[in-house]
Each structure stands twice: as C-alpha cells, then as structure tokens.
C-alpha cells in the first residue's frame, strides 16, 4: 500500500465529561474498499462516525483527506468535502416528499427557484442507484415504513456523490430482501471506487460484505485485519478484551426455588419489533435482558408497562391474566409494577422541580387523603427514601437538577420504591453514572430481590448482567435468542449470542435475522 490513502485519522480523542469516548484512535480508509467497524456498545464507534460526519468536533488529533489536513465544522462542511453519512437515527424530514428530502441540501435551481422537474429526475436516478426504484418520489417520507425510509436515506447520500459513504447501522431496519438489494448496491459502489465505512451489529453481514475490518474497544482501535483472516471466536475475544471489574453482591446459591412467577409473558408481539416473546420472572429473582442495543429490549419493558397499543400475547401477574393499558394502570397496588426509565432527564424526572415533588410523583395516591396531600406523611416517606438510598442532597426543597447524575438516578429509583413495587422493570439504569453509585444500585437490587421483588433488568453492560443477574435472556431482532444462567452466564456466551453467532461451535454457523 504505497499510494496515499483516501482518508486518515490520527490520534483522535473525544471526551464527554470525564468519560473517554475515543482515545487516540487511528483509522485509515482506502478508496474502493468496504471497511467494517466492529465493537461492543459504547466502544466508540458512534463517536468516530460523528467526528467524520462533522457532527461533533474532536478534542485532539487530526484528519487527513488525500494527505490534506482538514476539519469539519458542521455536517454541511463534511458533505462538501465528500463525506456522506447515513445515521442510525434517520436524518429525513417527515413532512417533506421523498424527492425534496433527497435533494435537501443542494436542490437544482432555475431562475433562483427549485426546479421540481429536474429535482424529480435526479431523485429517481438516486433511488434507482439505491435499488429502490419502487419508491415514488412524490410520496411523503413520514408515510413510508421504516425500511423504505432507510432506502431513501441511502439514496439521499448517493445523490451527493460522496467519496466516502458511512453506513451506521444502515441495515438494521431493513427486511432480508432489501438487505440483499442494498448489498448489491454497496458492492457496485465499491467497484466504482467509493470508500465505504460499514458499521453493523450483524456479524453475518460483515462477513458477507467487508474487505477490511477494524475492531474498537473502550475508545481505541485494537486491531485491523483483512476480512476472513480471523475466526469469529477471535473477533469476539478482541471485542471483549478486559474491562475494569465491578464489585457485585454475592448471588444466592439457588435463587427463587420453584415458586409461582410474579410476572409472566406469553407470546408477546408488537409492530414487528417484538416477536413471540415468552418469559417469566419469579419473586426473589433478578432476570437480565441482554443483547445489542435496540433489539427490542426497551419495547419489551414498555409493552409490559402498558405503554404500547395493539400488542398481541398475554401478560400474567401472580398467575392472573391482566390487561394493562397505561402506566397508571400498571402501578396500582394489586399489580405493583414500577418501570425505571432509560432517560432520567425526559422520562424519569421533572428537572426544574424539587426533590420532594419528584420523589412523590409516583406515589401521590398513597400520600394523599381525598385528593389532599398529607405533607406530614410525605416528608416522612421522602426522608425514609433518602436514607435508604443514601441520596446526597442539600434537602428536599432544592431542584432535582442540582444533584449529580448518580444521585438523580437514585431519586428516580426511590420515587418508585415508595410504592413498594413487587415487579421492578429497569431500563439500563446505570448508564452514565459513576462507579460508586453503580455499586450501590447493585446492592440495592439484590436487597429488593431478597425481600421478594421480581426484577427484570435491561443493561447494555455485559459485566453488570453477569455480576448482578440470576438469569440473562439475550434479545436479537425482537426475539429471545438465548437464556444463560450459572456457569453458562459468561461474557463470551453473551457477546456471541448478542451477535447471533453460535459460540459453542466457534465456526461459521450464523443465522440471518428472521424477516
């Protein structure tokens, strides 16, 4: 490789708060190749892409395009330099037509106005290049199903005639038939000399498509190799590496012996994103939900908590079939459910309001008599909670936004514990909080389980699932792909199952996603 590479990234770092998202990462992208980026949740892949696409600025390091140093101050600047990106969260505007969206940055003009006829021809051409001739350019993007929208997104990137095309999970919403089409398109683009950067959680797609692979771990690139030169087992090992370890409370020897499940789901399905999910959680048991981010874990918790409409399947609480149609129905005393949401800032807390108000919101019915809040009882209950969770706060009256992230998360948990719930659903509660608070939360969960709570716990951190849970269910593409307990519950098994690779064989048997 003596020619100058198309694009190089040298010693690029990015910190968010105290966390290193990227640390001195290097990357070399060659024209005419498909380059796959692999890594666990939070390994730095998204940050890498955001830097290349001009969405975030790196703290240090430099980027070279054909040996010219350059920096992107905005997404528009990156596009001008020939870097087009297809993001995981789509960048389409729902109320505009397909053609308008494809030509959004630089529409063809006549007499200073947008030339719709020409725009339409270009859009149809781009759609054809993306293998989506069947999408009508006049259709509103908001009316298209997700998989079609993703094709529009690809067409939009192609219409900009990029030198480097980045696909961040661009196939995650596609059906199997569409994936085949898109792959054919991507190969053709490669042969035309475009550089493609491909991020996917689906190992089989990477095996099928990539020419070069780079593995990221904890914000660094740990290895780059020719596709096909490493076995899947080796790849999984590279992705895991060694983490800092947490201190976990000891697990009971035989957890939750053959009792009736507190929560049971049978064949839950919703909107093609949950498919036939059956599970049960017994009192005293902590059941983990694993898998890569966005495989239906969040939807599963929302479904149980009564947020989703049009769901198929049954939910049983203490053996009774129940139908729950809102969070306020889920939290009634007879069901006793609580959901600790993923995003405490939007779904968990009213940030400008006081600690007291936030603590009491979920339990107002228990603290009031005929609609009037009993302030005596409220203060007592609040103080009990602050003590139980050791929340560090100046008092009940300050705004909850003044607390640290970890203490805010404790308030979210405390507000639900005030109801003494029997079924606790947690959606990645330790994301973005400090190690000390994490450990307190692990201890607390174990204590609640010992007191008889049934806990369903989704985490993106494999260490946590292994250290904290009695059993772990791994979700992939909306279905449960594996269940692990005891000695089978180890990192290798979880990662392999999350990637839908059969780790026992260590060979190449890979299942495609069911469509």
């Amino acid at each position: 490789m003596d020619s100058i590479p198309l694009f190089q990234m040298e010693k690029v770092s990015k910190r968010y708060g105290g966390v290193h998202a990227l640390e001195k990462a290097d990357l070399t992208v060659e024209a005419g190749r498909i380059h796959a980026i692999l890594g666990e949740n939070g390994a730095g892949k998204s940050t890498l892409i955001k830097i290349m696409a001009g969405v975030v600025m790196p703290d240090e390091g430099r980027m070279l395009m054909k040996d010219q140093e350059m920096s992107f101050s905005s997404p528009a600047a990156a596009v001008r330099q020939g870097v087009a990106c297809i993001f995981q969260e789509l960048s389409l505007i729902p109320d505009l037509s397909v053609a308008d969206n494809i030509m959004i940055t630089d529409p063809p003009k006549r007499f200073g106005l947008i030339d719709r006829r020409k725009q339409r021809l270009i859009a149809m051409d781009a759609l054809a290049r993306a293998g989506a001739e069947d999408i009508h350019p006049a259709a509103l993007v908001g009316d298209l199903p997700l998989s079609r929208r993703q094709l529009v997104e690809i067409a939009k990137a192609l219409a900009r005639d990029p030198k480097i095309l980045i696909l961040d999970e661009a196939t995650s919403a596609l059906t199997a038939a569409d994936v085949e089409k898109v792959f054919a398109v991507l190969r053709r683009l490669r042969n035309e000399g475009m550089a493609l950067l491909f991020i996917s959680h689906r190992m089989n797609e990477i095996t099928e498509l990539a020419d070069t692979c780079t593995v990221f771990r904890n914000g660094r690139n740990v290895a780059t190799y020719e596709a096909g030169s490493r076995s899947e087992n080796e790849v999984v090992e590279m992705m895991i590496g060694r983490h800092y370890s947490h201190v976990f409370p000891p697990k009971p020897r035989a957890a939750a012996i053959a009792r009736r499940p507190a929560l049971e789901c049978r064949t839950l399905s919703w909107d093609n994103r949950l498919k036939n999910i059956s599970l049960s959680v017994r009192p005293g048991e902590i059941v983990g939900l694993g898998g890569l981010d966005g495989q239906g874990q969040r939807e599963l918790l929302l479904a149980i908590f009564g947020v989703l409409r049009g769901m198929d399947g049954d939910i049983f609480v203490d053996g009774q079939r129940v139908s729950i149609n809102s969070p306020s129905a889920a939290k009634v005393q007879s069901l006793g459910m609580a959901l600790i949401p993923e995003d405490r800032k939007t779904e968990g807390l009213m940030l400008p309001m006081s600690v007291r108000d936030n603590l009491s919101f979920a339990a107002l019915d228990m603290l009031s008599v005929r609609g009037i809040i009993d302030s005596q009882a409220e203060r007592q209950a609040n103080e009990d909670m602050l003590r139980l969770l050791a929340v560090k706060t100046d008092g009940l009256n300050g705004p909850v936004s003044a607390l640290s992230g970890g203490n805010q998360q404790k308030v979210v948990i405390a507000k639900w514990l005030m109801r003494k719930p029997g079924i606790i659903l947690l959606n990645d509660p330790t994301r973005g909080i400090d190690v000390g608070t994490k450990q307190e939360i692990y201890q607390l969960l174990r204590r609640l389980a010992e007191q008889g709570a049934a806990i369903l716990y989704y985490s993106t951190d494999y260490d946590e699932l292994i250290g904290c849970c009695d059993r772990v269910l791994v979700l992939y593409d909306g279905t449960i792909k594996g269940e692990f307990a005891g000695n089978e519950l180890n990192e290798h098994a979880l990662v392999a199952s999350a990637l839908n690779v059969d780790h026992d064989m260590g060979r190449t048997r890979i299942e495609g996603p069911s469509s």
Binding site: V55, S74, P75, A76, V79, F87, L90, S91, L92, I93, P94, D95, L96, S97, D100, I104, T105, P107, K109, G112, L113, I114, R116, H136, A138, A139, L140, D143, K156, W270, D271, L302, V307, L308, R309, G310, S326
Partner: protein, 326 residues
C-alpha cells in the same frame, strides 16, 4: 398512475379546509334572501380578505413551528401608518404604500432576528414585540382618524368588470407573487424542514436560519398588506386593542382550520386562506339565521372545536402511547 394520491395526501389539510368553507358558504348562500349576487360576493370577500391576509402571515411562522402573537399589532400599526401616508397624488400614494409595506417587512424581520439570534421562544418574543408595535401605533393615532386615497380604496374593495370582487383577485396575486416563489425556494423548503424536524434539518445541512428569517419577514409583509387593506376598508386608522387581539387569535384559529399543523412543517398558506374564509362564514351564518349577535362567540367556538377535532383523528392510530407527547 397513483400520482394524484400523493398530491392528495400532501394537500389533505388544504382540501379539508376548502371543503369546510364550501359547505358553510353553501348553507349561507342558500339561506341568503338575495342568493349569490356580485354584491353579496363582494361584501363576503372583502371581510374575508382581511382575515385571510393575517392568517397567511400567521401560517408562515407556524410552518416553522413557531407562533406569532404580534401579527395583530403589525396589522394595526400598518393601518395607522397608512392612514397618514397613503393619500395625495398617485405618486405620493404609491410612495406611502411602499413605506407601509416596508414597515410590515421590518416588523417581521425584527421578530425573526430576535427569535433566531436571541434564542427566545417565538411566543414570548412576539408578545414583547407586539406590545412595542402596538405602542407605536398608539403614538401614531392616539384617536381614530386619518384618511386614505379614496379612489384607490374604492377600487381595491370594489368589483372587476362588475362581477369579480377585486379583493379576491388581490389575494390571488399575493399567492402568485409571494407564496409560489417562497414555497419553491431553498429558503421556503428550509422553513418547512426546520418546522418538521429541526435536528434532521441540521444534520442534513439545511440553511435553517435563512429559512426561518425569510418566513418571519414575509409574515410581517403579509400582515402589513392586511393593515393596508384595512385602511382601504375603513378609510381611516385606529389603534384598537380589540382588533389587534382578535385578529391575532382569529389568525391562529384560521391557520389550524386551514390544516396548518401547530407542530410545524405541515400545511400551506392557501389552506390558511380557506381556513380564514370558513371562519368568517361562521359569522355570516349567524346573520342569515337571524340569531342574536350575542350568540356569535359561543357559536364560533363550537364550530371551531368541531372542525379541529375532525382534523386530529389520526391520533387514534398511534401505537406507542409515548408518541402522544411528542
């Protein structure tokens, strides 16, 4: 081809507004003692044009997911200004018109600059600027009065060829001269994109600021046109709190009735025109059914609620309840 289906989907709000208007106007005309004569059409059209201009102005801002509470004040301010300036020789009159419209444009631009660069929420920013504009109007006309070039005023509120109301032709001209170019310009598309999903628009490198500023500026221009037309209609200027606030509120109602989404990104000012026409017709219905004028606010409110409920049926299809709050 299925071409027309996409067109239909895009124009749905506008067409519903047109339908509601035709329905109500038909009831009005069939119960009117004179039927649809040129004179009846002229009166209806003149009254409706005032609200239509203000509603178009409001629609431009609402498309960017904003709201403009200073619309009525700009309307009143330009009315007061026109009652001083739009008179005399044809040349003087023309100069006055240019000045009045420039003031409208300026007011809108100021709103836009404050919202964009002051990063204030449109609702608060325009309460503030609205009060300022109204204050200036009061200084211009502490008491009602003034005059206007009557030849021009009569021509603008009269009939063309003895049949077609001039005000309708005037509205059509505005749509062709302002709306069509705007909706097909990059700035216009940026305004829609910013209203529909500002994050996506930013990620796509859309000129959001240019789009929003253009929308606010043109909104001021249209409100100024409305003020000018009010002067033609009343031959005088008046800094009236009542008209400032009713026109602001009615413009929002007309916009919603016209299928423009308050969440932004959806609808057109043509829909707002039909929304304004429909809203005006509610008042006329009172007249033909001989109902006491005391009933008008109540009646208007009920019709408005019914029409708006009709437009939000889509919410019943939402499958994730969290989307209700988006």
């Amino acid at each position: 081809m299925t071409e027309w289906r996409y067109w239909l989907a895009e124009q749905r709000g506008t067409l519903i507004a047109l339908g509601i208007f035709i329905f109500m106007f038909a009831i009005y005309i069939t119960n009117h003692p004179a039927g649809l004569t040129p004179n009846v059409a002229q009166t209806a059209s003149n009254k409706a044009t005032l609200l239509a201009l203000v509603a178009m102005a409001q629609a431009l801002v609402v498309i960017t997911a904003g709201i403009d509470l200073s619309i009525g004040s700009i309307f009143v301010l330009t009315n007061c200004l026109a009652s001083w300036l739009v008179q005399g020789t044809p040349a003087e009159t023309a100069f006055g018109i240019v000045l009045v419209l420039s003031v409208g444009l300026l007011c809108g631009t100021v709103n836009g600059l404050i919202v964009l660069f002051g990063r204030l929420q449109p609702i608060v920013a325009t309460i503030g600027t609205g009060a300022v504009y109204f204050g200036i109007a009061l200084m211009l006309r502490p008491l009602p009065g003034g005059s206007v070039n009557e030849t021009l005023a009569d021509a603008m509120t009269g009939k063309l060829l003895g049949v077609v109301p001039t005000s309708l032709v005037f509205l059509l001209a505005i749509v062709l001269l302002i709306w069509v170019p705007f909706s097909r310009s990059v700035a216009g598309r940026a305004a829609y994109a910013a209203g529909s999903s500002e994050q996506s628009a930013y990620m796509s490198g859309v000129p959001i600021r240019r789009g929003k500023l253009a929308a606010y500026a043109l909104s001021g221009l249209l409100a100024g046109t409305g003020g000018l037309f009010l002067t033609f209609f009343t031959y005088s200027g008046e800094a009236s709190t009542a008209s400032a606030s009713t026109y602001t509120l009615f413009s929002i109602a007309a916009v919603v009735l016209g299928g423009v989404s308050l969440y932004g990104g959806k609808g057109s000012i043509i829909g707002a025109i039909f929304g304004a026409f429909a809203f005006r017709t509610i008042g006329d219905l009172m007249f033909v059914f001989d109902l006491d004028a005391l009933w008008q606010p109540l009646f208007q409110g009920v019709i408005l609620l019914a029409a708006i409920s009709f437009g939000s049926i889509g919410l019943l299809r939402v499958r994730n309840r969290l989307e209700w709050f988006r």
